[in-house]
Amino acid sequence: MRIRFRAAALAASAAALFPAAWAVIAAMPPFGEHVSPYGAAVNAVVPAARHVSNMVAAVNFDLRGLDTLGEESMLLCAVTGTVVLLRGARGEGTSGSAVRLPGRAIAQRSDATILVCRFAATLLFFFGVYVALHGLVTPGGGFQGGVIIASGLLLLYLGEGYAHWRSIVRGRILSFLEGAGALLFVLVGAIPLALGKAAFRNILPLGTLRDLYAGGTMVVVNAAVACAVAGGFTLILLEFMEETRAPETEREPGEGG
């Protein structure tokens, strides 16, 4: 009865909305046709004006740098909120091993798994660094490089297991990276203000097109975003992984209060 009512409601609303939806669908440009005048303008102007070949990075880090600063602070707030929420319920103890459900068999990792994970994690880490470094030349950039670095560190967990991974990946370094990246971004925006120019004015020498150093302040912003994203994402992964830690005592230091 309820399902029949739902189906009737769906049919009625679909019949009512279909003419409007069809009008929009019929008026859309053909698939794969680029009609954005802003994109065309960026493609025409930016390589000469900013000496970079990755237009997405140029828009994110220079032309609309203020928007990216907003996204960056959103990431910082999200990471901070997650960490405070999870640590507040759990305490700050770091030692210990992962929790084990009673009755579940413990599968030992084979040597091949550990070896492959170590190799793959190292390769993935350096690939992330590569993607971040070449962010202004080829597709990619700070965000992509940062998340690839974070996933490389996660792959290390797959090979090493919880306790060992926990001793390799340090939360303090990650939170430092996250905060320092955000601070660097703010400085790039604010230093031109102190010099009496507009915020996010590109004050560094622009470098040469298709070179590793190209784009002036974009290089700094790119590095800042890479640091902040790598640190922030790994920190979130770390805090979630901590949820699977076996508690040593009933009340841990930092709990309650």
Partner: protein
Amino acid sequence: MIWLTGIMLVIAAAAGLLVVLSRNPKRQIFALCANGLVLSLLFFALQAPDVALSEIVVGAVVVPLLFLVALAAVAVARVRK
């Protein structure tokens, strides 16, 4: 090129349907993982490799992992009770 995009779109829709239709949370997470992978291939086919790089890490690794950890935490809490 257009048929490749069409096939990818159909696969992406099918993967999304799998996420909705599977009732076991663990299977749902792996379906979500597959959906992220298919979506990143679709972005790659649509010539957006930078978006594909983000999607493959965020959609196919980070988000499913957070869900898996949440499931594990729920299972542990149930045992402790």
